[in-house]
Structure formats: structure tokens, C-alpha cells
């Protein structure tokens, strides 16, 4: 009897398994009543080292399926070379969002990897794979590879002469429930929570109706949104909870787009009530409607679920959005939503992007200023030219004169050159350190509110410190260039803020009045340093707490930033108390993980790490997610750290500005503490 041909579905150890791999193996295993299992031995998904080891013992053909994403395609290609070295009869099939689809890219991909790229699958892979394996079997039995195949719909085949031959496009999968669930058919039963690093994905829908040019979501799934059944989803959520997964993510492009998503999270709440899990949930909310988002977040809160909800604004600039073929929710709508979520104690985070076609330094400055004005925590991501995104269309690239670096990050377009891009990055880094990590948070606001100097102007000036300035401001310069890697002040915080006072006077023309000195003393007071003890109280010449709260009052009412009604210097004396150091920043130090560089996570992800002591004006940080960390040991450290932080911070989330909203019944948080969540009333 002829032995079955093994089919391997590997994942890179550094990246872990993905839902897509299980979707493929489940489809192949169960297609037509298991027809393919007579020919093939379809193995459960497994890490690459095990695949290579097994391939070395296979005396005959084999198939390896690579599901390529931006973060793992290089690893797949590297491991595939090792696999080819131990078995030269392997047929490598590549699919996923980072498998090239544009002409030219396909040719390069095939030509650059002659031994490890035999078949490319474009678009959804499950049904293509079934057809492919069916057609491929006789060729493999004869000892041929895939090169004699007629290209099937949705595939490209490497022909005998080494060139690609592409089949016609393939229609989307209409009935998603026809695809077997990998969770419910045992595809993942052999993997523990550790293999997934605790985070597991579900799909409630596929497709995205938008065609934002930087994104491959709409194009790769052919736009129209299709749904998996609710009962199936509930069963999958139950599987995840009963198998001990604490962190569940929905891989939907627009979660909350329809009322059905409210029902999904209601069912998730029931799952959590029965199984005690998950603890955390991640969604990517809908881009131009927030109709259901409030209810969804309420359910999360009521269920005691920590959540991460990042609204992908990308930019507030209308011209840039037009260049991206993108329609956001109107800014006014977004501002009102922010106010409502703020009153309801929900965290609101936004994504910005840097390097967008149509973007300029000025529009990026406006985006940063918007986020600062509205007190919205944001992350800024680099624009990548993803292989199957419209931005990679040769016509689009030519129209916008898009230039990329070695990591496919956009570094120049018709609207900004490389020098502009560098300048935006410098401004961003300064913004992260001074605003999000908070080292000049009160100084920036004071200068803007009382002296009319927009915060982004101060950031820009700091970002453009040049060599002569380095001599003039050695501590500031050292702080800005070192803080992310070594979060300690040069000499000490008193010396740093003395230098800030001089910088403000000389560069911005603001004298050291009692108002400025008050905020500088406050900045010094709220910094973590070894040896400090709490509670600690400082007496200030002016009541900064009342001043800041007054300035932010409208953000709780209608979302509009107005600033304070009078200058800080007109406020009488006040005090500020630091209650505690819940994150042990003074005894352990702020933690900044080492980050990989496949995106600019080194620029962005630090914003996810809380660097604050606990006081009346503490900002609440999301701490439930991280990205860009390839090193396994480092990831484990970060996971432990973040789990600890999440546990400690949940109770404190939204404790600020309690006078601005009405009392409501207390709700329990995920960590079992109880906080008074207050809903409703507009600001007085």
C-alpha cells in the first residue's frame, strides 16, 4: 500500500500558531467526508523545527503550507530553505496576506525562491487548498512536483521553466459556516495555552467594505462582509474558555459594525460567567460607525472583562483621507464619542499613522495636536507597503512617488520627502517621551493654555535640537536620546527641570513666573525615583489640580477642548498628593521592553507601558497589549509584567475627575476589586 503523503502546516516558534493554519488543516481533513485523508496524512499544525525534523525522515513527497503575514513571511522562507535541504521533494504552498499578488511581485517571489516557492494561493485559502491537494496527488505520486499542474482558480504555479503561471481569480467563500471550525474539530487540541502565549483569535466575520489603500484587509478578503454563525461562535468562545485561554481577540476588521456584534459579546459574557474566562478581549472597532461600540464596551465592563479597543483614526486630515480612499467617522462624531466613553470610564485609544500618502509634516503635527488637545492616548504606526494592499499597486505607487526603506516602510511620497519623514519621526519620539510617558505633560499644557504656544510647537522645537543646542541643553538632549532605552534622568529630575526652565525662557520666550515654576515643581514631584516613599504631598503656589481639571471639564461634557477658564497664576495655593506607587516604579523602575524592529514598534509600543505614580491627575494607560517583541524570553517577561499591571491598574481605571460625572452602582472589575463607575451627567 502506498503511504499517505504528509501535509505539514508549520508556524515559526517566534510567532506562534495562527487561526488561519487550523482553518486550512480542518478544511483539508474534512473536505468531502474526509476524501483527502485517503491520499494525504494531514498533520496538526506544529512548529517549524518539528516539521524539518519530520521531513528528514520522509522518503517521498510532502507538502508544506506556509501562511504568510508581514511578521512571519521572512521566517517561513528561511525555514523552508532548511526544509528543502533535508527533503528536496517537498512542494511548498504559500498563501496568506503577505503572499504577493501584484504582477511583478509574483515574478520576483517565484524567481527569488526557486526551491521553496512552488504554488501561490491568492485570497481565501481553504477551498483552494482542497482543490489543489486533489489535483496535486497524481503528480506527487508520479514523482513530479507541482510544475505540471494547470493553475487552478486562485493560484499561481511555478512552471517547469521556473516562471509563474496564474489561474483565474477565485470567487469568495459565500457560506463561511461550510468551513469546519478548527476549534470544534480538534485541530488545536494538541496545543496548550502556552503555545499561543495566552492570546487566541476568533473570526466573527470576514471582509471589509472599505478599501483604505494602506490596508490589505478589504482587498484580500474581497470586500463584502460575510459572517460566521452565532451558535458556532458561541461554541468556539466556549472552547477557548474551557481550554483556559485568558485573552481572546476578534480578528474582524470592523467589530461593532452591526447589532449582531452586541449579541456576540453578550454571549461572550455568558461564557465568562460559566467558565471564568476570558479575562481580556481585543477588538478592532468599526471605522466609520460607533453606533454599537458603547453597548459593546458596557458589556465588557459589566462582565469584568479588561478590553483593548483601538479606534483606527490614522489621520484627522481630510485631504490625506481622500488620498487613502478612506472615510472615517466625522471628527465631531468622534469627539462626542470620546466624551461619552470618558464619562462611562471606558478607555479610548486611537491609532495614527506616519508616512501616509498625502500626509505632510503639518498634517501630522495637527494629528498629534488633536490627540493632545483631546487627551486621547494614541499609538502611531509606520505605513508599510503591504504586498496586497492597494498602496502596492504600481499605478498608485507611481502616482504618489512612494519610496520605501528596507522594511517596506514608506519614507517619501509626493507630499513629504525623506527629510520630512525623519522630522516627523523625531517629533513623534519627543511626543512619546514628553507627553505619553509624561515627562513634560503639565509643562506642555501650561504653555499651551496660558501662553498660547501649541504643544506640538514645543515638541517640534525639542525635536530639532541641533548640535549647538546640545551644548546649551545637555541634560534635555541626553534625556530625549536615552530615555526609551534607559528611563533614568541625567543627573536627576531637579537638574533636568532646571534646564527645562531655561529652555522655555530662551527658546520660547516664557519667563520663569510663579505659574511655570509651579508646574515644573509638580513635574519633578510626580517622577519616579529610587528611594521615594508614599503617600507624599507637595504644597504648590497655585492649585494645579483645580486648574487641570477645569481645563479638561468640557472633554467630559461634549468632548471639545477649551482649556482653563483662567491662568494658573490666578489660582490660589494648592496641594498635590501622590497616593502610592502601584507599579513599584520607585523600587523596580519603569519598564521598557526590548522591542523588535519589523515595524516601528520601538517607537510606538513603549506608549503601552505605564510610567506613572498614582495621584489626582494620573492618566490611565492601557496595559493589556504589546507587539513587536520577537524574543521569547522577553515576551514572557512582558506578559508577566503586563498581567501584573493589568491586575493592579484595573481598579484605578477612571478614578480621575470623579466630580464630573454622576454616581452609579459600583461594578466589579476583572481583578475582583470594586470601583464606583459613574455614568451620565454632563459636566457642571
Amino acid at each position: 500500500m502506498t503511504p499517505p503523503i504528509p501535509v505539514f502546516t508549520p508556524y515559526a516558534p517566534a510567532h506562534g500558531p495562527t487561526l488561519s493554519l487550523g482553518m486550512l488543516t480542518a478544511s483539508a481533513r474534512h473536505a468531502a467526508g474526509g476524501e483527502l485523508t485517503a491520499t494525504y496524512s494531514i498533520r496538526r499544525i506544529e512548529p517549524w523545527p518539528e516539521v524539518v525534523e519530520a521531513l528528514a525522515t520522509v522518503d517521498g513527497p510532502a507538502v508544506v503550507l506556509c501562511s504568510n503575514y508581514v511578521w512571519n513571511v521572512d521566517a517561513h522562507l528561511e525555514w523552508a530553505e532548511r526544509a528543502h535541504a533535508v527533503n528536496d521533494r517537498v512542494v511548498f504552498v504559500h498563501g496568506g496576506p503577505s503572499t504577493p499578488g501584484y504582477p511583478g511581485d509574483v515574478e520576483r517571489f517565484v524567481h527569488d525562491h526557486p526551491d521553496t516557492v512552488h504554488v501561490l494561493v491568492h485570497g481565501e485559502g481553504e477551498q483552494v487548498l482542497v482543490d489543489l491537494l486533489r489535483e496535486l496527488a497524481p503528480h506527487l505520486r508520479r514523482g513530479d512536483g507541482a510544475h505540471e499542474l494547470e493553475p487552478l482558480p486562485g493560484t499561481t504555479i511555478r512552471t517547469i521553466d521556473g516562471n509563474p503561471a496564474r489561474g483565474p481569480d477565485r470567487a469568495r467563500i459565500d457560506d463561511l459556516d461550510a468551513l469546519p471550525s478548527p476549534y470544534l474539530t480538534g485541530e488545536f487540541d494538541h496545543l496548550g495555552v502556552e503555545a499561543w502565549r495566552g492570546l487566541i483569535y476568533l473570526e466573527a466575520t470576514r471582509g471589509c467594505p472599505y478599501g483604505c489603500t494602506f490596508c490589505d484587509w478589504g482587498s484580500s478578503t474581497l470586500a463584502r462582509v460575510r459572517k460566521f454563525g452565532l451558535d458556532r461562535l458561541e461554541a468556539e468562545m466556549t472552547w477557548c474558555a474551557s481550554h483556559g485561554f485568558p485573552f481572546l481577540a476578534f480578528a474582524d476588521a470592523n467589530f461593532g459594525m452591526t447589532a449582531r456584534d452586541v449579541e456576540i459579546v453578550e454571549r461572550l459574557r455568558e461564557v465568562r460567567e460559566h467558565h471564568g474566562l476570558p479575562d481580556r478581549v481585543l477588538i478592532a472597532p468599526a471605522k466609520n460607525t460607533t453606533r454599537h461600540l458603547r453597548r459593546i464596551l458596557d458589556v465588557f465592563t459589566d462582565a469584568g472583562l479588561s478590553y483593548q479597543c483601538q479606534l483606527g483614526i490614522q489621520t484627522t486630515d481630510g485631504g490625506t483621507l481622500a488620498d487613502l480612499d478612506r472615510k472615517n467617522i466625522p471628527v465631531e462624531h468622534f469627539v462626542r464619542l470620546a466624551a461619552e466613553l470618558r464619562r462611562r470610564r471606558h478607555l479610548l485609544e486611537c491609532d495614527l499613522m506616519i508616512g501616509l500618502p498625502g500626509q505632510t509634516v503639518e498634517s501630522f503635527r495637527r494629528d498629534l495636536q488633536f490627540m493632545i488637545d483631546h487627551e486621547i492616548n494614541h499609538k502611531t504606526w509606520p505605513t508599510l507597503v503591504l504586498p496586497n494592499a492597494p498602496i502596492n499597486d504600481p499605478d498608485y505607487r507611481e502616482r504618489y512617488a512612494i519610496e520605501v526603506d528596507e522594511r517596506r516602510r514608506v519614507v517619501a511620497t509626493t507630499s513629504f520627502d525623506r527629510a520630512d519623514h525623519e522630522r516627523m519621526l523625531r517629533i513623534l519620539r519627543v511626543e512619546i517621551i514628553t507627553n505619553r510617558l509624561g515627562l513634560l505633560r503639565f509643562v506642555l499644557r501650561y504653555l499651551q493654555w496660558d501662553h498660547g504656544i501649541p504643544a506640538v510647537d514645543v515638541l517640534d522645537r525639542l525635536a530639532s535640537l541641533t548640535e549647538p543646542d546640545v551644548d546649551a541643553y545637555p541634560l534635555l538632549s541626553t534625556l530625549l536620546s536615552n530615555y526609551v532605552a534607559r528611563p533614568v534622568p541625567p543627573v536627576g529630575w531637579t537638574a533636568v527641570y532646571d534646564e527645562v526652565e531655561r529652555f522655555v525662557a530662551v527658546e520660547l520666550g516664557v519667563p520663569a513666573t510663579s505659574g511655570l515654576r509651579t508646574v515644573l515643581r509638580l513635574e519633578r514631584f510626580v517622577r519616579a525615583a529610587p528611594g521615594r516613599t508614599f503617600p507624599a504631598t507637595i504644597s504648590l503656589d497655585h492649585d494645579v489640580v483645580a486648574y487641570v481639571r477645569g481645563a479638561l471639564r468640557r472633554l467630559y461634557a461634549d468632548g471639545r477642548p477649551t482649556g482653563p477658564d483662567r491662568p494658573l497664576a490666578t489660582y490660589g495655593p494648592g496641594t498635590m498628593t501622590i497616593d502610592s506607587d502601584p507599579l513599584d516604579l520607585c523600587t523596580k523602575g519603569p519598564y521598557v521592553p526590548r522591542l523588535a524592529t519589523w515595524t516601528d514598534a520601538d517607537v510606538t509600543a513603549v506608549t503601552q507601558y505605564p510610567h506613572e505614580l498614582l495621584h489626582e491627575l494620573t492618566m490611565t494607560y492601557d496595559s493589556s497589549a504589546f507587539s513587536g517583541i520577537d524574543d521569547q524570553e522577553e515576551r514572557r517577561r512582558v506578559e508577566t509584567y503586563l498581567a501584573d499591571i493589568a491586575d493592579r491598574l484595573t481598579v484605578e481605571a477612571g478614578r480621575h475627575h470623579p466630580e464630573l460625572v454622576e454616581d452609579d452602582e459600583p461594578r466589579s472589575t476583572a481583578n475582583g476589586h470594586t470601583v464606583a463607575v459613574r455614568i451620565g451627567r454632563s459636566a457642571p
Partner: protein, 139 residues
């Protein structure tokens, strides 16, 4: 930009040298001690810490090489000066150590045969504890 390291950084048990507008360069303690070899010794007058006190280095600080001393602020915000012996103590105390053992451990490395270094060790430890550069640990 400035090429000469202007700052000494201790962060999470590791040393680095850096300068304005530069990124930190990880170095060993030997490089650090070479860097400060010419600095003058800082005399101490604080009361002695008990010999069985366990001390451990704090998580981080950055001092500026300022003339013939290393300038750094203590937890109280006051400016202090460190010398090579202080830096050697901080390095040794990366793992908690009884104060009585500190002098024995570092004496040969810093000042072979110099009894004054050892005699004032417990005063130094008091200074460093007050500055927050050392913490009271458990062995």
C-alpha cells in the same frame, strides 16, 4: 556630536556610557572604573550603617562626569558626588550583600592595602542609602 562619554548610567544591573544626543553604549564595570580612575576620592562623614545591614543597588540613575567627580541627585533632589569606590559598591551590590562584606569584596579592586577605604565603608553605605542609590535589601 560629542564623542566623549559625559554620563555614566546604571540601569537594571547594567552599566552604560552615553553623551548628549547619543544612544547609550553598554559597557562592563571595568570600563566604568577606568573611566573614573582619575577622579578624586569623596570623603564621608555620615554615621555608619550596621554591619549586618543588607544592601542592594537601586534600579537606576545617571551621573554626569563633572570635573573630577560624578554628579548625581539623591532621592531628596540634593546634588551628590560619587567616586570610583561608590561605583564599585553599586556594582557589587547588584545582588544583595551584607554591608560588612562590601569592603572585603571591593577593597582589592579599588584601593589595595588602603585601610581608609575600608574604614569609611560603612559611612559610604549610609550616604548611598540616603541618596537612594542603594536600598535596604534582604539576603
Amino acid at each position: 556630536m560629542a564623542e566623549t562619554p559625559a554620563f555614566i548610567c546604571w540601569h537594571l544591573g547594567r552599566w552604560s556610557l552615553t553623551a548628549p544626543a547619543s544612544t547609550p553604549r553598554p559597557v562592563t564595570v571595568d570600563v566604568i572604573l577606568d573611566q573614573v580612575a582619575g577622579l578624586r576620592t569623596v570623603a564621608r562623614s555620615a554615621p555608619s550603617v550596621a554591619g549586618d545591614t543588607v544592601v542592594a543597588s537601586s534600579w537606576g540613575w545617571m551621573g554626569r562626569i563633572d570635573g573630577d567627580l560624578v554628579a548625581v541627585e539623591g532621592a531628596d533632589g540634593a546634588r551628590r558626588s560619587l567616586d570610583a569606590t561608590d561605583l564599585a559598591i553599586i556594582d557589587v551590590a547588584r545582588t544583595p550583600i551584607a554591608s560588612a562584606d562590601v569592603a572585603v569584596t571591593i577593597a582589592d579592586a579599588i584601593a589595595p592595602g588602603d585601610r581608609t577605604v575600608i574604614d569609611e565603608m560603612e559611612q559610604r553605605l549610609t550616604d548611598l542609602l540616603e541618596a537612594g542609590l542603594l536600598t535596604r535589601g534582604t539576603s
